[in-house]
């Protein structure tokens, strides 16, 4: 048993800190730290390029696909530090580095790997991906999705609608979940994963503003979109099982990100509390405030250990199952605690627009406060994740 970072991992932490200090404007960390709203896409993609040049963007991928063959633990440390410093551009859209790449390596064709992986690895605009899962009638009950791909010679013809599609407005590719067999009986059979070029005629992206007015997600319409049959990922009609893998990758990434950004928030709040006076005394003299920070620190430690333990299990050859759900829940919980307790500490200023000059800590707490309910829903609600834990870890009957 050993909870220390290796020398190599420690060096990586230092290098990323130096990179962030050099490449990011001073006081860059602000509202986007947690809600991941990088409103300047050109800047974001320029950072992707720089991360790629550093060899970090897809560091754990094999060299032949543009990676460094780094360990998963190193990649996790990298993700934690990227989140800590608020470095934009690390994900290549919402999904490129996190689950499209890893899934293609697991069950993509060699042709697909050669075509798409280097694009993601280069940090190029053409390597930016969105993910098309949710539909108006397929949220938590994703298997209910209705978008259809009908085989027509060497092509699929796709018709349907996706919704809550994050970053579709910047994406070159869509990682699309679609129905390929409507006669399969059970609704999770007959599904397939297909890659769609977002520049194909018939693809329409409409913005949906979230409740604080930001354009993060979209609805995407597919109207007779013609996609080469070679864009099928994995086996036709076994898309549900591939999806489970992709979701596991996605949920895994929540804990390292949550750890990095919550640790930064915690440090910023410590500084704020030590410097800020209220009713004639420093906030750090108020026991209730001190205990709020302590509770945050406890949750931050837990999410860190969950993130590390997950990766350690993978390196032991295990295929983690419920652990990704556990980590997703904990990651969401820690951000919620930072956001809500942080807001309580900011008091009257917690209501200020995060971009305003009135905002404390450059709006980071407000950004988290506005953003965390969205993160809690993405990739599976706590209710869904807890039902997964109950079923797959505790051996209780399926309840949904």
């Amino acid at each position: 048993m050993d909870f220390r970072l290796s020398e190599k991992e420690k060096t990586l932490v230092e290098e990323i800190a130096n990179f962030a200090k050099k490449e990011l404007p001073e006081d860059f960390v602000g509202a986007h730290l947690i809600d991941q709203e990088f409103r300047d896409f050109e800047f974001e993609i320029s950072m992707s390029k720089k991360l790629a040049q550093k060899g970090w963007l897809v560091m754990s991928w094999p060299k032949e696909y543009g990676g460094q063959g780094a360990s998963l633990m190193e990649q996790t440390v990298y993700e934690m530090e990227v989140a800590y410093w608020g470095i934009p551009g690390a994900w290549m859209g919402i999904s490129g580095t996190q689950w499209v790449g890893p899934c293609l390596m697991l069950f993509g064709t060699e042709e697909q790997r050669q075509k798409y992986l280097p694009l993601i690895a280069s940090g190029d605009k053409d390597g930016v991906w969105c993910t098309g899962y949710s539909e108006p009638n397929a949220g938590s009950d994703l298997a209910n999705l209705q978008t259809r791909a009908v085989r027509d010679g060497d092509y699929y013809i796709i018709n349907g609608q996706k919704v809550w599609t994050s970053k579709a407005q910047h994406s070159r590719w869509c990682w699309l979940m679609t129905r390929t067999d409507s006669t399969a009986g059970k609704k999770h059979r007959g599904l397939s994963l297909v890659i769609v070029d977002m520049e194909t005629p018939g693809v329409t992206v409409n913005p949906i503003l979230n409740y604080y007015g930001r354009h993060h997600f979209n609805e995407v319409f597919f109207d007779n979109v013609k996609v080469p049959a070679s864009n099928l990922v994995g086996e036709e009609n076994r898309g549900w099982y591939h999806l489970m893998q992709a979701l596991a990758f996605e949920r895994r990434s929540v804990a390292p990100l949550a750890y990095g950004s919550s640790r930064r928030m915690l440090e910023n709040l410590v500084k704020y509390i030590n410097e800020t006076q209220h009713e004639g005394k420093f906030l750090n003299q108020i026991p209730a405030v001190r205990h709020k920070l302590a509770e945050m620190a406890i949750d931050v430690e837990i999410v860190k250990l969950f993130a590390y333990q997950f990766i350690w299990r993978v390196t032991q050859g295990a295929i983690p199952a419920y652990e990704s759900s556990r980590n997703k829940i904990m990651g969401d919980d820690v951000i919620r605690r930072v956001a809500t307790s942080g807001a309580e500490i900011l008091g009257i200023y917690s209501q200020v627009d995060p971009d305003s000059k009135w905002a404390r800590l450059r709006g980071a707490i407000q950004g988290a406060y506005l953003g965390f309910p969205g993160s809690m829903i993405a990739a599976g609600t706590a209710e869904v994740e807890k039902s997964i834990i109950a079923q797959f870890k505790l051996g209780l009957p399926k309840s949904y």
């Binding site: 048993m1 410590v270 205990h291 406890i298 837990i302 109950a390 505790l394 051996g395």
Partner: protein, 377 residues
């Protein structure tokens, strides 16, 4: 980063689980709650023969040279099963500090007897103000010739009725800080000027008020040096906190397992209650807390084992474990419904131990405050 146990640790866990399942079933736990001694001397000897008391001692002192993480593994199993008796008092509260701060003579004198199961020890620290602060140590030790004379009162001294020795935290002087002038004495528990009264507790464990009325202690029976005892208390509390967390970790796992089993068996509305999401989500929350406690404990134990400063990790673990233990027990009892509220059901044995565990080596608020200090607030 390595979350794995060594083969020896896995073996120790299996051995402990088998031994405790066989030798200390819940019927035994209940019997010992009523027993005059509160522990089973024969079981105690068997534990010594298995090497548990001397686990972390060197061979020179009759031990088997295992490390602190091994001790955590053992304590997890003791907590999981519930083992009444003076193991925590003797080892966590006393032996570890003798091993670290004792003179060669003290070590050779005391440790082999502890390892053989022939000596029981306990720590007399808390006074009527019920605090872990150095400023609250008022039991006085005044120098008289070759002796110190102890005068004052200690409360919640565990297992004092069966202890051969007490490690007594006393004040020998006043310094610039409350920490200065604190001294630890080794006191023979049979000293005549020492009066004990049992404090009845909800766990049915053995805790005592001890009044020291001019108890004479030889000047040679100081652990560490005179006036510098508080750093030993700190040392003890750090380790005791982690070992108590390990006990809590095992107990929480047991409550989760018990509740999960019940959720699968209990039929209402024609199906197991574990098929309802309200129950499932409660159990999922319990599981997340159980794993959080485990990893926090292992992290803190590794820090101690490596000799790294670990106050932050220790206090994070103890604050979380204390809080989650209570929550898990309450959720466990209520998930059982009325049967969980009965004398005959085992889950109550765990719930009745929550209060003592929370206060042991520092309560939730104390450790949150420690965390705040470590955050540089």
């Amino acid at each position: 980063m390595d979350f794995g146990f060594t083969e020896e640790q896995e073996m120790l866990r299996t051995m402990a689980r088998d031994f405790l399942t066989k030798e200390c079933p819940k019927s035994k736990v209940r019997e010992l709650e009523k027993d005059e001694k509160g522990y089973d001397p024969q079981m105690w000897r068997s534990m010594a023969e298995l090497g548990w008391m001397g686990l972390v001692f060197s061979e020179e002192y009759g031990g088997i040279n295992a490390n602190f993480i091994d001790l955590v593994v053992l304590m997890e199993e003791m907590g999981r099963n519930i083992l009444p008796g003076p193991f925590f008092s003797t080892i966590a509260l006393c032996a570890l500090s003798i091993l670290e701060f004792g003179t060669k003579e003290q070590k050779s004198n005391f440790l082999p007897r502890i390892a053989k199961g022939e000596a029981i020890w306990t720590l007399a620290l808390i006074e009527p103000s019920a605090s872990y602060k150095a400023s609250e140590i008022n039991l006085s030790a005044s120098s008289e010739g070759d002796n110190y004379v102890l005068q004052g009162e200690k409360i919640f001294v565990a297992d004092a009725h069966i202890a051969n020795y007490l490690l007594v935290v006393a004040r020998t002087g006043k310094g610039k800080t409350p920490e200065e002038g604190v001294t630890l004495f080794v006191v023979n528990a049979e000293a005549p000027a020492l009066k004990m009264e049992r404090i009845p507790t909800m766990a049915g464990d053995r805790q005592f008020q001890i009044v020291f009325n001019k108890v004479k202690v030889s000047k040679g029976d100081v652990l560490g040096t005179v006036g510098n005892g508080w750093r030993i208390v700190d040392f003890i509390l750090q380790r005791a906190a982690v070992l108590k967390c390990a006990e809590i970790s095992g107990a929480c796992q047991a409550v989760l397992d018990m509740t999960n089993t019940y959720a699968k068996e209990r039929i209402q509305f024609d199906r197991p209650i574990g098929s309802f999401q309200a129950v499932q989500h409660k159990l999922a929350d319990m599981l997340i807390d159980v794993e959080a406690i485990q990893f926090l404990v292992y992290q803190a134990a590794c820090g101690i084992s490596e000799g790294e400063p670990s106050q932050f990790q220790i206090s994070v673990a103890k604050a979380k474990a204390s809080e989650a233990y209570q929550k898990i027990c309450i959720d466990g009892v209520t998930a059982h419904g009325a049967i969980g509220f009965t004398w005959d059901h085992d889950i109550g044995l765990y719930y009745r131990r929550v209060r003592a565990a929370e206060f042991a080596a520092g309560d939730i608020d104390l450790h949150r405050e420690r965390v705040a200090i470590e955050l540089r607030l």
